[in-house]
Symmetry: C2
Subunit: 428 residues, 2 copies
């Protein structure tokens, strides 16, 4: 049996999950892999309140320096949110010669270059399986399982809050606001949900996945990002009409023109595997040059699923395997820059909903303008006119450049064929 | 850059895939992880025929001893089928101090105890990601990603041949025989498909997954195994009627009474994630105590997907990570025995199709006998009678012991309520 005293900084939801797994089933890891992982020191802002629930003999303190000075602790679980104090604490741990296991995606997406280099210079490593898609072992799958693949594309649902809201809007006909309130009541959305619903959290996770897949530096601002705040019941119903569901989709796709990176609400056809990833689940669809398509689905957040990933990393570090990974895999320290695809060169299927007067020639005008711009239509649907004699025409296109598509939309709206500005969405 | 000369034994479909990946994209692994994997020696039964396509400077020979004597080769890709010669070759490699990377599931399922012990005694290891579900990194996910989970259950579609046949029977209304012929024509089924369609191949893979999940010895005969040869269009249509699809399902489930292990054609409800795993795809649904449900779907066979898994293992061995795994994880060498659940204590949903005369009282008799045996009915469907006045009654039960279910069926058939022996299937 190999004893592994570890430290924990931040005793919130996920930290509580780590403590729970280790306390509830102390024999699991010793039985499975001969490791006796002991929480030796817990650093928290409110040590008095929490000392009562302290696991075993752990020291609970608000003084980081006690943890840093303890040479018997070589691995620290870092569960501090944000990118300021969290960064300082991460650097302090690395500088004290400790391996860091973290779930903080924002920290790595924004300061990964600096932190990975710092870790390398100190001879330690940063493990982050828990930072993307919680309990789903996607980091290891992408880095190790698919190591012999060029990654042609990643399509992923990475934010459980957004997926829950979109699912409830679809299943229950709720408004965005009602679905958000329900998600908050159930603990699937934070009190301030901004970073989830505006796509930032998804972009952070995509930056980490793309860094591994393309062993490249991924500047976070290189990811074009839209959220779900503008999605209405009309959009949800339109998707249904067109045989699809709306998902907040993260996309990384390599092509001749460069790497395409974006986060946007997207129509996912019902027969695509990601369409059935529902409620608060996450799903990642990876296209590898050798393995072909691989799909992983599971719980992307929550105390126990995230703690499951944290402890997988702790085992990886305590066995020495992770150090072999960090010292060898390029994306940690020697990542190169990657050419990014300009926005108007993105090749994607698109969806448009035109609000038009119900009279002869309107449909012909629209299809003619599309044709002039080289836009090839995959399917088209015209609804029954309402009492005012207004109708809806919905169009899904074959993949084409954003440039051509938006030029066509601009031209249609400019000719006053449409009554209100045309609504557009992407389509997988 | 770290040079890794490796050997390959068996240059068939998968061996060809390994050669293709390394030749087509020689910069991938050096770029990603600083490893220069060089095929130094290839052992094949027909070296003359294949020498022409030899990659780079590889020696192609039919003499295993050349490979064994080469001390610069510490890792061997073992792609020899069967369990006799394949076992001898595996042992010869281990005895020569070489790590073995293999895709041979039958070999490990039947002789794993002996081979893992042999490897441990020689200070080398056996890697086998490619042995289960081809390109899907399920071995690593179960062993490492979910290391901090007790595995409550595994439900898996592990044989692409069977899944292809069942999908085509459902989608195209084909007979079992026609669908098998089509699968053979497309290369999804072998000329002699026996070990695929009778469930043996699935049982081998389940034995390996269960060994890892429960760090236990899994005697292959402990797995109750039925194939798909008896599945008819009537069964396929029945499944549809009951809102389900038939899949050849591998199940490992832990419970108070012991571990349940079986392979059987099973009705999978349409809303279960495994229902949408179609054609030749594999899918594994794992229920972990911390991570909750995780689903992995991908290509379970074929040259490139399997070679992708083989090379992932080679990288794992060449970085030294795999040795850290093999020396520490219990299932390799110190697996214990596990209590197995007796067959009649299995707790499972069930399906029955009764062929009955269309007269008053028949339905009442059936439901009454079920009730007497404590069988709780989830749903029931009675079809329109045919010209002979014969009708079909279909029943799906809530989970109950096989003992109670089959006692009820036996009693119903014994009372001559039914015209032909009742058809039964399991239901997830």
């Amino acid at each position: 049996m190999h004893g592994c005293p570890i430290g924990l900084i931040g005793w919130g939801t996920v930290g509580g999950g780590v403590v729970e797994i280790l306390q509830r089933d102390p024999q699991l890891l010793p039985e499975r892999c001969g490791l006796d992982i002991q929480l030796k020191t817990i650093v928290t802002r409110r040590p008095e309140r929490e000392r009562a629930q302290s696991p075993g003999t752990a020291v609970v303190t608000d003084r980081l320096e006690i943890l840093l000075a303890d040479r018997s602790i070589s691995t620290v679980i870092h569960l501090v949110g944000g990118t300021t104090v969290a960064k300082d604490i991460c650097i302090a741990c690395l500088d004290a010669g400790k391996h860091v296991v973290t779930a903080n995606k924002a920290l790595l997406a924004e300061h990964g270059d600096e932190l990975f280099a710092r870790a390398a210079s100190r001879g330690v490593s940063i493990a982050f399986e828990a930072a993307v898609a919680g309990g789903i072992p996607i980091i290891a799958a992408l880095r190790d399982g698919l190591v012999a693949n060029r990654i042609d594309a990643i399509y992923a649902i990475l934010n459980g809050t957004c997926n829950y809201i979109l699912t409830r809007m679809e299943e229950e006909g709720r408004s965005y606001g009602d679905a958000l309130l329900e998600a908050q009541r159930l603990g699937y959305a934070e009190e301030d949900p901004t970073l989830d619903v505006n796509g930032t959290d998804t972009a952070h996770k995509l930056a980490i996945l793309a860094r591994i897949a393309y062993h490249s530096r991924i500047p976070i601002h290189a990811i074009r990002c839209e959220g779900i705040q503008q999605i209405t019941q009309a959009d949800i119903l339109s998707a249904k009409t067109m045989g699809a569901r709306i998902k907040l989709l993260a996309v990384a796709k390599r092509g001749d023109g460069g790497l395409e990176l974006r986060v946007a609400p997207t129509l996912v056809p019902l027969d695509h595997p990601l369409a059935s990833v529902r409620r608060n689940y996450n799903g990642i669809h990876v296209l590898g040059s050798a393995a072909g398509p691989t799909l992983l689905v599971g719980q992307g957040a929550g105390a126990l699923p995230t703690a499951s990933a944290i402890l997988a990393d702790v085992v990886d570090v305590c066995t020495g395997r992770y150090q072999a990974t960090a010292s060898r895999f390029r994306f940690f320290s020697a990542a190169h820059d990657v050419a990014l695809l300009p926005e108007d060169a993105e090749l994607t299927g698109s969806y448009a909903r035109f609000h038009v007067p119900d009279r002869a020639g309107v449909l012909a005008s629209i299809t003619q303008i599309f044709s002039q711009h080289g836009v090839s239509i995959l399917s088209i649907h015209q609804g029954t006119p309402d009492a005012q004699g207004h109708a809806t025409i919905e169009v899904v296109t074959h993949p084409l450049t954003s440039r051509s598509f938006f030029a066509a939309i601009h031209s249609i709206d400019g000719q006053q064929v449409t009554l209100t500005p045309t609504v557009t969405l992407r389509r997988l």
